[in-house]
Symmetry: C2
């Protein structure tokens, strides 16, 4: 999943001057063959790739890839693969869409979805696709605002500066979205302009049992046998979008060792975090999040077993929870690995020593590591309320999310854009409104499970005597309150949400909806906790990180890549397996392996049409591949691209060794996993009988 798939990589630099950089940034300095890095398109190391692989991408090549690369606001990546707006992504990137379009009679997750023609393609609720159209530097403006701010107003000033740039840059452009991104932890700020498509329709999704063949047990493992692919289409004015710039479809699999690129939107990494920050993640954030996920998982599993309909209702949520759990488990294990943690500490020591060795730099830098450690210690006292009341409030409840969006949008829209909570600034409202307005089914049992879990865990971790908890629950139990909210609210109806949205603060004030009133009643508490964290933690950390970034630029130059930020990046690598503890894993699987592994017991049960189609398929067709590309959650759905710029697959996972990719990249074992175009084509032809879709893909295929 977006935030949770985990993998990473780095450049095998020949220049000895830069080896120190790679080692300072990378996880393990193996010296040879580390294809590390999630590079921005305006700073791609073409020369390095050329010297290493014999092909150095030029500007025109990079532009074409960039213009074909899609960001899905649901947290995934994708690519345009036909002139009529057809988009390739992963099945798991459309699973929420397929789930939302399902009913007790038609389970599109289990049964798959095939649009017989374009008129049957179905709107994915809440989904928006975005293509980068320009990137400009706005570092000076944002950093100046931070510098001028009072100590308690750093985040407020930074957000206001970012929002001003965004609102100004997209003013009057209805089809454009503008977003300022902090790169290198405040070392740079850039404004990304996107062409946006708000009408995205589902074209094709295979059955979950073949797209996620092997289920949770095989997740993050390899050899793997998943057709984790799907197609959506971009629409404009009710018609398929015209997309003359797109990737050509390659009919054949890449060769072992072949150079391949991944263009996509890695969500988030922590490779530049200080040791104090990593300790906080290791000892608090990860363990507590995993405990919460585990209990939620148990509730969902038991609920699923009540019957077929309950199983259908919970399927995509359970998938997301299990995927997140497994990714976080790998992340925690990486931080608990003394070797990895020791290297992170060594890297920090090295950077600090270099700073100390340069008196002028040392004076300008001061001790941001100590500042961060102090702020992190302070955060410890706010972590639980911040987690439960603000960032994780409502857990996964859709109804709660609607209610909070409505309550806060009502309050915020009455202020000037730059003074709002930044997620309600003018440039953000269009997408938020779409998410609130789009119809999707609400399942009271899932809402019950999510809200009960959130309320009972909030009480547990903050303790029953805590004033915030007493304000939240009053004298009610989490179970009583949940029942009252889920049964009483009318927010499941998109018409009700639309009226409340359009009525603004007055409508919210006048609403007697029980969930609106509940959210409104504790919103001040949640905002207060957030403000305290922003003022006392995030503010000092922002200033400290900027000083570390400057020091890093001064010492290592700017030929390094920033941490992932769910913005467009390009990684390079090669088709390759790996060797671990004496065992070697080959980089390809094929259809024969899929059928061999299909025991008939869950999660190794193939759909009937796959069993029926076996004789028609060439069983030697390559299915999945492992490559050395450096990726992470958010890259799901990214095109795997060859040197000719053709799409040859879609990234859908990383191997188990990539799970520490949040913190660094080990070129020896970290691998990304993709589903290959020949397998997708064969499935469309021989399993799903979709020649028109296959023809559209293969029109320009080579």
């Amino acid at each position: 999943m977006p935030d949770d798939l985990k993998r990473v990589l780095g450049p095998a630099r020949r220049l000895s001057r830069l080896l120190g950089v790679v080692c300072a940034l990378g996880l393990l300095c193996t010296g040879a063959g580390a294809d590390e890095g999630m590079w921005t398109f305006d700073h791609f190391p073409s020369a390095t790739v050329g010297s290493r692989y014999g092909f150095a991408p030029e500007a025109a090549w990079l532009d074409r890839i960039r213009n074909s690369a899609i960001r899905l606001t649901s947290g995934c990546s994708a690519s345009i693969v036909s002139k009529d707006g057809l988009v390739l992504t992963n099945h798991h990137c459309v699973v929420r869409c397929a789930h939302a379009l399902s009913s007790p009679q038609h389970d599109l997750v289990a049964e798959g979805f095939t649009a017989a023609g374009r008129s049957e393609e179905k709107l994915c609720p809440g989904m928006q696709a975005e293509i980068v159209s320009s990137i400009s530097d706005v570092t000076d403006e944002v950093q100046a605002a931070i510098k001028a701010a009072g100590d308690m107003d750093i985040i407020k000033a930074r957000n206001a500066a970012m929002v001003s740039v965004e609102d100004r840059s997209c003013h009057g452009e209805a089809q454009t979205r503008c977003q300022v991104v902090s790169l290198y932890k405040g070392g740079q700020y850039k404004i990304y302009k996107y062409r946006k498509y708000s009408d995205v329709r589902l074209v094709f999704a295979p059955e979950f049992s073949v797209s996620f063949f092997g289920g949770d047990p095989d997740n993050f493992n390899f050899p793997r046998y998943c057709l984790d692919s799907a197609f959506v289409r971009l629409y404009e004015n009710g018609q398929p979008a015209s997309t003359p710039t797109h990737l050509a479809w390659r009919r054949s699999a890449p060769a072992p060792g072949e150079l391949v690129f991944v263009a996509g939107n890695p969500g988030s990494t922590s490779r530049l975090d200080t040791v104090a920050q990593l300790v906080q993640v290791r000892d608090w954030r990860l363990p507590i999040r995993q405990l919460l996920l585990s209990e939620l998982r148990g509730r969902l599993i038991e609920f699923s077993q009540r019957g077929a309909e309950q199983n259908r209702i919970a399927a995509d949520t359970l998938f997301l929870v299990e995927n997140a759990f497994k990714a976080l488990y790998g992340r925690e294990r990486a931080l608990l690995d003394p070797e990895l943690f020791g290297q992170k500490a060594d890297q920090e020591r090295e950077l600090r020593a270099k700073v100390a060795a340069d008196p002028k730099l040392a004076a300008a830098t001061a001790d941001p590591w100590a500042d961060i450690a102090q702020a992190t210690a302070l955060y410890q006292q706010m972590f639980l309320p911040h987690r439960f009341l603000e960032v994780g409030a409502g857990s996964g409840s859709e109804l709660y999310r609607y209610a909070r969006a409505l309550v806060r949008a009502g309050a915020e829209r009455g202020k000037p854009s730059a003074e709002r909570l930044p997620e309600y600034s003018d440039s953000k409202l269009a997408l938020l409104q779409k998410e609130v307005f789009d119809a999707r089914p609400i399942y009271p049992d899932l809402e019950r499970i999510e809200l009960q879990t959130w309320l009972s865990k909030t009480r547990e971790y903050l303790t029953v005597g805590n004033a915030l908890v007493q304000h939240l629950l009053g004298s009610q139990s989490p179970e009583e309150l949940t029942d009252r909210l889920v049964q009483g609210t009318r927010l499941a109806d998109p018409k009700v949400r639309k009226v409340l949205w359009e009525g603004g603060q007055a409508a919210i004030d006048a609403s007697d909806d029980v969930l609106i009133r509940f959210v409104a009643a504790h919103d001040a508490d949640a905002r207060a906790v957030r403000l305290r964290v922003e003022q006392q933690v995030e503010g000092p950390v922002t200033r400290a990180e900027e000083r570390i970034a400057r020091a890093r630029f001064a010492i290592y130059g700017d030929s390094v890549y920033p941490d992932a930020t769910f913005t467009l990046r390009l990684s390079y690598g090669r088709v390759d397996g790996w060797t671990y503890e004496g065992g070697t894993v080959a980089p390809f699987t094929n259809f024969a392996g899929l059928y061999d592994r299909a025991t008939g017991a869950e999660p190794y049960r193939l759909p009937q049409r796959w069993l029926d189609a076996k004789a028609k398929l060439d069983l030697s067709t390559p299915l999945d591949v492992s490559t050395t590309n450096d990726i992470i959650g958010g890259n799901s759905g990214s095109p795997l691209i060859d040197a000719q710029g053709r799409v040859v697959g879609a990234i859908f996972d990383g191997n188990i060794h990539s799970l520490g990719g949040d913190f660094g990249y080990d070129g020896r074992t970290n691998r990304s996993i993709a589903v290959l175009t020949p397998a997708i084509s064969a499935a469309l032809h021989h399993v799903y009988g979709l020649p028109a879709l296959a023809d559209e893909l293969e029109a320009e295929a080579q």
Copy 2:
């Protein structure tokens, strides 16, 4: 709960020579007032108590307490409180009994149980009560066996020596149980002889909602308002046992600051563990156990919400899981506290420095810390299979436990006692047979939840390609296999179990019971993992720990207490609250506070008869108390005793600060929590209308 309630304490020694000892063993050396220590009766620091509190217990006093103190094999402590075998313990120590005696029509956990007369007292399945009758030292014999053993046979030789002593010591004594205990991590071995009572009957249990008032949110917190008390009675030959030696019942509460003792069986502590061992606990054992508990908890909560009967069925299991989770959470947080962990490291460094400073001692000691670190690193590779296939096999499934006991008893009883797995040696068989034979209800849904959880987590953590997993599951899913086992087995019937037990190996071999066959099929795998751990980890650790113990005795003398071993200990302390972060907590609560806290919402809903009885109760009656005694899980039910040897309460919990008690004791904040005798008496008189029971208690009351 037995294994999981967590608290600890230590002696405020005046002798400066010993201050180092206390600091080396204690958690935080506050210097003043640390009532630390879980002392053995044959080494109780009477002089210290005398100098500190003005009362030094003499041998006769200690003997009377020892002879009145009960160990319940279910994992709790208790005390005899009348001449007719009446025993006071906690409600949570009989909750499994009350649950086993319940039906859909009569929920003895929710409704409570009051025997109208002795003829209505009901056998608690599987429960045995034990009173220490003698303790003898057998260190030389066991240590000699360890010394003589080959490197791969250390555990085998140690177990054989222990079993030989046990079998010999109890030979021909049907009412006696003998058990060799390793104290000071192999520094001493002692044989404990117990008078055992295998017929223990439930006399009185209040409603769960008042015994565990405040539920999980209030658990391990204080102020607290629980009547966590219950009575059982020892029977001999079908008649109440004659128990002339017992504790007198004190009518009044102890005074603030008053000296109090706790006699009970603390289950296990890790205060003498090396840093390498603590790291393993912190980074592996605790986090993984908590994740498993969290998922199981989620399953049980969701199952409970299906209906009233499901809620009844899951209630005691859910309580045990939540209690364990909260205790482990506190334990993990303690180890993640840099201050506490730093102190443990300092203590180890100090001990090692003292050893190194004495050339002769250094030569004899060598480097056991390195040996343990090496063994612990090796254990890392075996930890998951050992956890899932051997020590945690079957999770909490009752049926699985029966099946394994039958399969292994069948195989082991064919060998000489000293060559068996030690839990099947002659001295252990009587209790095991009782547990297998006693009837108790089996709930297929609970079995399904436990077995599914175990099998699916085994597959998850060992991974699907693991040979052990493939052997366990074959091509079945955990869900399919579970259904087949739960639906197919006949082991829920005690008659079936009796036939299989009595038929021995031949009956097991001939059985076509699906669960017997399943357990028999993977028993060799489980034994192999166990043997590997014993040979490569436990053996070297046993020898290393013995050397550390010798070094410790050489440096600190033997005036220290051993880690807890679920054997009888005496702790001393005083009635006291505590101060933390500026807030002071008073040591007493009363009935008025109970009624004030009863909002009517779960878990603050009092039984109707408590609401009805309010006017009859003196609301100023003391209910619960906090004291400085050093206790830990297993101490639940222990009598709180005054200097006159009268029982004044029953320990049922520790405060939240005591949860790190596994690793040390902080006299500033660690507190044990007890329910007081005046509250119990008042409840029997005015709420439950049980004058005969109250009279029996108060016959000799003072």
